[in-house]
């Protein structure tokens, strides 16, 4: 109890002093920092990092922080050989990827940035779907499923052909879905896969029978065209909202998003400065671009990790 308390206070003080130091440093170096930070990876996390870079450039216009979009897997591919400083990911790093990093002598830390609630959506014209259970989702999405029309799922629903829209295989979103809904089996073959989430939005909203899933932001921005489906995981149907995602009741489709940081890169002042800035502001910026911020505790943890790593 009290030990924990003490250590927490310690941490806080420590982080406070670091903050003060960094601030002083920043003030001193405000005009001076420059360089390029190599960021690549997930398309899901991209909007958050883009927002961070945009805000950061207002303070440090000479630091270049382009954000690439190669997908989580594509990002890791470059990260593990030391090509990039940060790698955005919508899933944790895989064992093979970690092994490769080790092989190449890349040491890293993992930061959690925000939550995303994978939203299952149907068309606005779909007036019969009230909620879906995880089992039902599994039944309709797996390869070899016998579900062709909505009626096949629940007899009281009309006999309208279902069209399936899913993010592509290389996205972390798909990986997550594959893990929690499909239980690592294949997705049905007639599902249309696209790396472009707007394509999915258009697809689902375009016909009465469509269903799809993607990040909360895409649902949030297209509420007028889409209807979100509450998900029942045995504890009653839960609709994804800021609150249910943040407090973890929207399960199992709520997931954290990560950023991996190459420790070596932290030796460069501009990288450290950027990262510090990021950790301070990522919560609010995530909210702004349609994701859900995490409890402050997580950000404090991040600060601790950064401090240790540098």
């Amino acid at each position: 109890g009290s030990g924990e308390q003490a250590s927490k206070t310690n941490t806080q003080t420590a982080s406070n002093t670091t903050e003060q130091k960094t601030e002083q440093k920043t003030e001193k170096q405000e005009e001076k920092l420059s360089g390029t930070i190599a960021i690549d990876g997930s398309s899901t996390v991209f909007p958050i990092l883009e927002a961070v870079s945009e805000e950061y450039n207002l303070i440090q216009p000479n630091v270049k922080a382009p954000v690439g979009v190669s997908g989580t897997g594509g990002g890791f591919k470059r990260f593990v050989i030391g090509e990039t400083d940060f790698s955005n990911a919508s899933r944790p790093i895989k064992e093979e990827e970690a092994a490769l990093a080790k092989e190449n002598g890349v040491e890293y830390i993992e930061l959690k940035l925000a939550f995303d609630g994978l939203s299952v959506v149907v068309s606005k014209d779909n007036d019969f779907v009230d909620y879906l259970t995880v089992e039902e989702l599994n039944r309709m999405w797996v390869d070899g499923s016998d579900v062709v029309t909505w009626k096949d799922l629940r007899p009281e629903w009309p006999e309208i052909k279902i069209e399936f829209f899913s993010p592509g295989h290389d996205s972390g979103t798909y990986d997550y879905w594959n893990e929690v809904i499909l239980k690592k089996t294949d997705i049905r073959k007639d599902a249309q896969l696209s790396e472009d989430d707007n394509v999915l939005v258009m697809g689902v909203s375009g016909g009465k029978g469509g269903i799809g899933y993607f990040g909360y932001a895409y649902y949030y921005e297209n509420q007028d065209k889409l209807k979100v489906v509450p998900i029942d995981n045995g504890n009653g149907a839960i609709t994804p909202t800021e609150e249910t995602i943040n407090n973890g009741t929207y399960a199992p489709l709520s997931r954290p998003m990560f950023m991996y940081v190459n420790k070596e890169a932290l030796k460069r002042p501009e990288v450290l400065d950027y990262l510090t800035f990021l950790n301070e502001h990522v919560g609010e910026l995530a909210l702004e671009v349609g994701y859900i911020n995490m409890p402050q505790l997580e950000y404090d943890n991040n600060a601790e990790l950064i401090k240790k790593a540098k």
Partner: protein, 313 residues
Amino acid sequence: MEMKKENRSVSEMIADNHSKRSILKFTENTVPKFFLVCASISILTTLGIVFTLLFETFTFFKTISFFEFITSKEWHPMHSNPNFGIRPLITGTLLVSAIAVVVAVPIGLGAAIYLSEYASEKRRKMIKPILEVLAGVPTIVYGFFALTFVTPMLRQVIPDLSIYNALSPGIVVGIMIIPMIASLSEDAMSSVPNSIRQGAYALGSTKFEVAIKVVLPAALSGVIASFVLAISRAIGETMIVTVAGGANPTSAIDITSAIQTMTAYIVQVSLGDATYGSTVYYSIYAVGMTLFVFTLVMNILAHFISRKFREEY
């Protein structure tokens, strides 16, 4: 002094200069070599393309048998039990191209006839560049035009049309290649000598008869070659089908439902960035190779048509 200068005539000065021509000779010899190097770049480019494709395609066929590639009817590269049968992608590609041809050939040819036979010089000079703008519109713009304008419009007529389908991008690809057909066919038709036209008019022909019975047959090889080139362009078109065609590789011939073309597959994979070295990664080269072979055949065909049947007026 003055005298001396007068005496040196131009021809003497020239003769003088001719005796010290070494620099000139050097340039004369070097310049063609430089240009030969330039011309060789184009061959290197082709070799580059062929080797790039061949090399990675070869790796692909180490894992997937060539036989499966050409015979299997299923294309599910990311399935845990993947299928790599190119047929669905080819079906999608040909479906879109066929629709494009149905749209573009009559319109393009009609426009070509109008421009070459009916329009006044002034009008032709005005319309042709505008049509060329149509060819210059970035395909990404066409892609969204297909998805957000043409598809919804078509759905008013065909309610069953999926949001992603072969019809809408097919039509829009057709629109995109209209200028190509119009312009190349117009070139072929305008190069029919006026004397032949006059011969027909002097027999009492109407404009329509001259256009259809004399000029068009005379320009036929050029016109057909323009079709073939336009088809090859349609086959290689990428962004329109990526945006509006969907991502559903299927061998079924159904223009109202989603398809996937070879080009769209390559974009899909490269947007997601398949892990370097995976079979899926190599598959884009195998598909690229197929695409290359397709367009190569079309181009050679066009070349052959316009050479073999070239009219000697």
